[in-house]
Symmetry: C2
Subunit: 417 residues, 2 copies
């Protein structure tokens, strides 16, 4: 394919992860090495940085600081929640993007994000094509939710899964020290797909995990839940429950909505009932069993715990960023970098890169396969374990200063033409 | 002093920590090496294990598994919330303890716990003395709260402080990626003393920490809080707030009590049950500012995060356990092992062991010094930073299996005479 010379823009979008910067670093360092790419620009706050002409010269950053991106959680270039309009209705955003691309002679655009971002990539790519402006557009996936279609797994998932399993193992140990029973309810992320909740089963594999795991893929039934809970609690005088934030009843209503409706009401003391799903379920369980119950929401901690990242995830995330740039320079466009799992003849896990059409991933979701869920609908089987275990391997050794993480400090020098 | 030969009992009590087992391991391995100690017994679930004659032979455990205790969070021997009665009123528990001591010829008792446990040690020691039974009793401190009197700091605090500072740094990064402002409210433990909340200032030292820290030592005033919050949020379009679970209004009422009627319930020590404060404050802040607000409770995670332990804390905890046994064999009794901070002439931190009379620590609390709190009463100054920074140093390399922690597996062989 033809050689295309020009600047590149790298941007990040959506909710951050522990390793999104590892992907971005992979793209930056590779772009810097390719002579076809004349300038490496970063857009601040995703697509907004392009619309606002708020770009930085990544070439001017200190190499050591850039390297620290591999261990720096969250989105170093900033993120945004801005959604581009449908160009058929209003193409002003696209006009502006094209204007900025032309201003800086941008011929490569790399967008590091989730499925909304892949949709954005797709639309920008099409718009450029329709307007005769050659620009190669590549999506670099990231999401702890692991719900992108077509790829074996997503950068960010392995680290979140490792953090969830590790934290639950620790709390399991903590809640099993007393001679009196306790029930612990964990709430983990995952609005529609149960990948993160399922990761808690890895803790169970090590003997320190949940007895019951509730996934968005299985309709949540309170009676059935109490029945299973009573059985576990009677047998072990202890029970650890994991619920996905996205569990729904048989009518498709989020259980978390029950909780937030309750939050509007006041108790007999005039206090609002507070808290999310974990607190809500914990409260119900307390009333049902009379046991000591604690609700723990892993909240943002699960998506930014770089100190407990999976080295496999960091390496793969870096490779995804690198591959995006290399394939684009070779001539590919309108693709998302994905992962293909390969097992060697001795059973060793290996992850290869594959390119996926943006159209196939934009605005799509991937759910936990039905045959990976156990027969009682409150856990996963060994198919999930086999899938997830290779993704959490490798302990990271993050650079530290005074015993605390040393994160990348970028100079963020504003780009000018 | 005279040589005393006999068995020893090691027990753990109170809320577990990430490193309590490191202390217990220090005691076990040292006891095994001393010929004066003829048998190393563990009491299951603290003092209850003695009352129930539920002892295990620690000598029969695998050495490798015992060594893993250094990296295994929570109380490996089990804990209890049982409080011994006042012997003047009812000495049946003490009679029973003495009976068990005599049954196994126990001449050394090591109790690894917080200030309640030091009180238990003290009472048992006095009872033995009054009844002419020679038994050397030593307390080995542990508490993430860092509130034991007479010692520079407590085993367990450094690891909890490191986890709190690290987690807040990560979430700080996460909550600063968007172009729209957010307010984050963290709730950390610490019923009456602000040591854990203050640890969040270490994150601020690295540029990723809270703007406002509320300690139990400073009466909490809502008007003043809103004023400071508005100032921060207007300036930065972002604000990170840390509240100790133990913050109280000027009349001494816990703010957590406002949040939940559950706070009226008391545990078996007569302490009010706290929790739900982060959600409560977050809700108030949302109403006050209209901003996007998130409450995060670090919950049990902060006291059991062995994967993020401070190596300094592990080493010191181990030494505390070892010293307890060595001093007891030398003839000391009725003491708690404490830490003395020493700075060498080149400014290097060093921690020496000192012995403290149990009476001086039993049922006492140590608060954050007033002159370590900043003038606005919502943070700490460099005196705290200088104090805390050496305690969190050293990254731990926990043994893993499949990318997850490998914890000690004890055989727990029931002891018989």
């Amino acid at each position: 394919m033809s050689t295309l010379r020009g600047a590149c823009i790298i941007a990040q979008s959506g909710g951050p992860t522990a390793v999104i910067n590892a992907s971005t670093y992979g793209a930056i360092i590779t772009a810097m090495k390719r002579r076809e790419i004349t300038r490496v620009l970063g857009a601040q706050n995703g697509i907004r940085g392009i619309l606002d002409d708020n770009l930085i010269d990544l070439d001017k950053e200190e190499p050591y600081e850039l390297e620290l991106l591999k261990y720096t959680p969250s989105s170093a270039l900033g993120s945004c929640r801005y959604k581009l309009k449908d160009p058929a209705e209003d193409d002003s955003d696209y006009k502006r993007i094209l204007e900025i691309f032309m201003k800086y002679d941008v011929r490569y655009f790399f967008y590091n994000g989730g499925n909304d971002s892949m949709d954005t990539c797709n639309k920008i790519s099409k718009y450029c094509l329709e307007h005769g402006y050659e620009c190669r557009v590549m999506g670099i996936p990231k999401t702890i939710d692991n719900d992108l279609a077509e790829t074996d797994h997503c950068p960010g998932y392995g680290s979140a899964a490792k953090y969830i399993a590790t934290s639950i193992m620790e709390v399991y140990k903590d809640t099993h020290v007393y001679d009196i029973g306790t029930i612990t309810v964990f709430e983990v992320m995952g609005r529609n797909a149960g990948w993160l909740a399922a990761a808690s089963a890895l803790a169970a594999l090590k003997g320190c995990g949940p007895d019951l795991i509730y996934l968005p893929e299985v309709p949540f039934d309170f009676d059935r839940f109490y029945e299973r809970l009573d059985y576990c609690y009677k047998r072990n005088h202890n029970c650890v429950v994991v619920v996905s934030e996205g569990i729904r009843d048989k009518d498709g209503r989020y259980i978390a909505e029950y909780a937030s409706t309750l939050a509007q009401q006041k108790d007999s003391f005039g206090h609002a009932q507070l808290g999310g799903l974990a607190a809500y379920i914990a409260d119900l369980v307390k009333k049902h069993t009379g046991a000591k119950v604690r609700g723990i929401e892993l909240s943002l901690l699960q998506r930014c715990a770089a100190h407990c990242a999976s080295q496999t995830d960091i390496d793969e995330s870096f490779h995804a960023g690198r591959a995006a740039v290399e394939y684009a320079v070779e001539g590919f466009t309108d693709k998302m970098v994905g992962f293909q799992r390969i097992y060697s003849h001795d059973g060793q896990y290996r992850c290869d890169i594959k390119l996926i059409d943006l159209e196939k991933v934009a605005n799509k979701e991937k759910f936990l396969p039905v045959d990976w869920i156990n027969v009682t609908g409150d856990g996963v089987n060994e198919k999930f374990i086999d899938y997830a275990l290779p993704l959490i391997k490798g302990t990271v050794n993050i650079p530290t200063d005074d015993g605390l993480p040393r994160y990348a400090k970028l100079r963020r020098i504003k780009a000018t033409v």
